[in-house]
């Protein structure tokens, strides 16, 4: 076998916390050939990022990491203690959140120049311009500060800095997870092109199987600090050998059976007519929502899809009466919410409840679960008995009953917290649940679990969902109807399957084309 560019054998990372030690990575073998692109997939906590940070020598010293194993670069041994010499010279890294890796007080051109200078003292200022052009920015962008650039542009700057290292391996840790799909597509194309032109190797770490299947030749699947399966991307994704890989693929691929649009006997439970909202005034006025019409029937799910800034979260807040619209009406059960006096609104809106994106902020940290649920039961006028609360928790599959009630939300995992949020919504007796990106931070397996749960509850209680997501495939598999939002308007709306398969509006077409999908 030819010598690989990078050959990592039996790499282990152990953290010490007090007297306990936690194995974050337990004996991982990974090979990357010259110019090869390799993906690592796995859920949060699988050790994929820890692996990347270990070989970059970037693990936090406060966690007292102990790294073991052999690392060979071009067939030559590299001591663990010498890894910091390799970083920046042979390896460069791009992170998920470029804003926190860029100096906020320094122009991006100067930041790139700094890196250029470290690696090539003779290189002139011109090199910065060249690098910016390589990542498809303009030379004039050198004068910008990080906050003046969009997320995609910042990630390009990070890539330019990685290129300035003239590294032979680019490690990208969830490089596009924080970006919109259309921007993600551009960044992925850029990385693929640069890799081809410069002959760089790529180690792409992602939870998104679609991204990995588009970008990589070989893939490693990690679970609890170990590689459980590896091989060429096609083989692993088509004929997975491990149950876990199979489950990941099932959760990650688009295998939606189109849901029949239910027939409605009654009128819609929620109606929006001509809803508009402007933030600011005068010259700085910004029209966030413009002429939104939407109907939601009992037992129906409408997905609002769109990219960041399209106004979908503002629309959720308007629906929930957290923000008043400037124009149009929001009608719930025949009552025009935005025209009700405050006291009546408080009563009327209780037929509706939100589930938020970030479940860590969704609960008062001083209230235990008993407190959270009894507050919600009060609204429905149900006596807050432990039995009633345990029943609610069981409905969202939080089983162990009694011990839960005295715990705090922050002691639960993200998936458990999101189910608690659903339990709270059920406790209020709401008929409409407005969920704003409830699964965007969740791992695939948790996503599948929560989606199944929401479906089950809808079938049992004929709940109606407004489901906001940027993930068009998730909308496809979960919603009856999809409304596509773009610049504050609903540009297209209809049965989910029709929207995905036969998009009419240009923007919808672009969105569908850009969304990575795991093709089997």
């Amino acid at each position: 076998m030819e010598t690989a560019f990078l050959d990592v054998e039996n790499l282990g990372v152990t953290y010490r916390a007090g007297d306990r030690s936690v194995v974050a990575v337990g004996g991982v073998d990974i090979r990357i050939g010259q110019g090869e692109s390799v993906g690592i997939v796995g859920e949060s906590g699988s050790g994929k990022s820890t692996f990347a940070r270990a070989i970059m020598d970037l693990l936090p010293a406060s966690a007292q990491p102990a790294i073991t194993g052999t690392i060979r670069l071009d067939g030559k041994d590299v001591k663990i203690a010498d890894l910091h010499r390799v970083r920046g010279r042979d390896f460069a890294m791009v992170f998920q959140d470029p804003l926190s890796y860029l100096d906020p007080l320094m122009r991006v051109g100067d930041q790139i120049a700094e890196v250029v200078h470290v690696h090539d003292r003779k290189a002139g200022r011109d090199r910065v311009g060249e690098l910016l052009e390589m990542v498809q920015l303009q030379r004039t962008h050198a004068r910008f500060y990080p906050h003046e650039l969009s997320g995609g542009m910042r990630q390009r700057v990070m890539i330019a800095m990685a290129l300035a290292c003239k590294a032979r391996l680019l490690i990208a840790d969830e490089p596009t997870t924080a970006l919109d799909v259309t921007t993600q597509k551009e960044i992925l194309l850029l990385i693929a092109r640069l890799r081809r032109d410069l002959g760089m190797s790529l180690l792409l770490i992602s939870h998104d199987l679609g991204v990995v299947s588009e970008m990589c030749e070989r893939v490693y699947v990690m679970l609890r600090g170990k590689v459980i399966e590896s091989g060429p991307v096609r083989d692993v994704f088509r004929t997975p050998r491990h149950d876990y890989t199979r489950a990941l693929i099932a959760a990650g691929s688009d295998q939606a059976k189109p849901l029949p649009v239910p027939v409605h006997d009654n009128g819609p439970i929620l109606t929006l007519r001509g809803v508009g909202k402007t933030f600011g005034s005068g010259a700085s006025a910004f029209r966030v929502l413009d002429g939104i019409d939407l109907d939601l029937h009992q037992g129906e799910t409408v997905a609002l899809v769109g990219e960041s800034g399209s106004g979908k979260s503002t629309l959720a807040r308007v629906i929930l009466s957290l923000i008043a619209p400037d124009q149009g009406d929001v009608t719930l059960n025949g009552q025009v919410l935005n025209k009700l006096p405050a006291a009546a609104l408080q009563k009327a809106r209780s037929a509706m409840y939100p589930v938020f994106q970030d479940s860590s902020e969704a609960f008062n940290p001083r209230r235990n679960i008993r407190g959270v649920l009894s507050q919600a039961l009060d609204v429905a006028g149900v006596p807050a008995r432990d039995a009633a609360m345990t029943a609610l928790l069981e409905q969202v599959q939080l089983r162990p009953g009694q011990p839960y009630l005295d715990r705090f939300a922050h002691e639960l995992s993200g998936g458990q917290r999101q189910r608690l949020a659903i339990a709270r919504a059920l406790a209020t007796g709401a008929e409409v649940i407005v969920a704003d990106e409830p699964l965007s931070g969740a791992d695939l397996s948790i996503r599948a679990l929560v989606v199944d749960l929401l479906r089950q509850l809808q079938a049992d209680r004929s709940l109606a969902y407004i489901f906001i997501t940027h993930d068009i495939w998730l909308a496809h598999s979960f919603a009856h109807r999809i409304a596509v939002m773009y610049k504050g308007r609903i540009v297209e709306e209809g049965p989910a399957d029709a929207i995905i398969r036969h998009p009419k509006h240009d923007y919808t077409r672009k969105l569908v084309a850009a969304a990575p999908v795991l093709k089997l």
Partner: protein
């Protein structure tokens, strides 16, 4: 997927065990212990030595000895006995000023942070006026108008101290009011007042209470400063006054300034460390 919570015994006692653990750390025992001893001295000391506050012993400026443990001052009064009497003033002024400044600061900060932009602007400008007010000028004016007195000293210090608490409180409230759980409460139909006092304020308290314990120290020092300028009642003993009168005799009797200084130092330190613990107890996440 089965969801199981790591089993960890009967959970009703989770919080009690947490409290016990927080309170059984050496820092907690030491700081709360020192505060208890100080309070004990302030309460019992003057009773035991009743009437001896100004009693003169045979000699002035005697260094610490078996007879007078901490020496005597220039008039031959026992420093130890004076410090016991002084502890009453210092602790009373420190604690009372800190408590009232914290209460006022919490209320004003909460209103500024939770109210509309206009309310916020007005309240914060008023707060700034109090912050830039020169403390000694204010104290001198009040004493000149109404005469000296411990209650007035407490009032002055509270007036000077609440703005820092209010600013901190406002910042916390601004941060917390944008969190989703506040919207979740709003969607439950809670009124804005209920949301402010039940959902927002309790979660903003931890840093504010820590600062409150710092104010205890500041107040003791400020009282000392006011005593130095003769703005406190001449017939009430306090550590600050002893420190300031003692420094005139620093070369003849170091004990006159060192012991009251040490007492102030230990008290301030104990309150600050205790304050950190209080903040930890108030933060339900401190276990993580």
């Amino acid at each position: 997927m089965q969801s199981s919570i790591p089993a960890s015994g009967p959970d009703t006692r989770v919080r009690d065990r947490r409290l016990v653990r927080l309170l059984s750390s050496s820092v907690a025992i030491l700081s709360f212990g020192v505060i208890l001893v100080l309070l004990g001295c302030a309460v019992i000391g003057p009773i035991v030595y009743s009437g001896q506050e100004l009693a003169l012993t045979s000699a002035s400026l005697v260094p610490p000895s078996g007879q007078s443990w901490l020496g005597t001052d220039e008039l031959g009064r026992d420093v130890f006995v004076q410090m016991l009497f002084g502890s009453r003033t210092s602790l009373l002024v420190g604690v009372a000023a800190a408590v009232s400044a914290t209460l006022v600061g919490i209320a004003i900060g909460a209103i500024a942070g939770f109210g509309s932009n206009r309310v916020d602007t007005v309240v914060m400008r008023v707060t700034e006026i109090f912050q830039v007010m020169p403390s000694f000028v204010l104290a001198a004016v009040i004493v000149a108008l109404w005469g000296p007195g411990t209650m007035r000293i407490i009032l002055i210090i509270a007036i000077l101290s609440w703005p820092q608490t209010a600013r901190l409180m406002r910042g916390e409230v601004l941060r917390i009011k944008s969190l989703d759980y506040v919207n979740a409460a709003r969607c439950l139909g809670m009124t804005e007042t209920q949301i402010l006092w039940r959902e927002v304020v309790p979660n903003a308290l931890a840093p504010v209470l820590t600062v409150g314990t710092l104010i205890v120290g500041q107040a003791i020092l400020l009282e000392a400063g006011l005593a130095f300028f003769g703005l406190t009642s001449p017939d009430v003993a306090s550590w600050g006054k002893m420190l300031n009168s003692g420094q005139r005799f620093f070369y003849q009797g170091w004990w006159l300034s060192v012991f009251p200084g040490l007492a102030i130092f230990v008290t301030v330190l104990a309150f600050n460390l205790a304050g950190d613990k209080v903040a930890e107890i108030f933060n339900p996440r401190s276990e993580d």
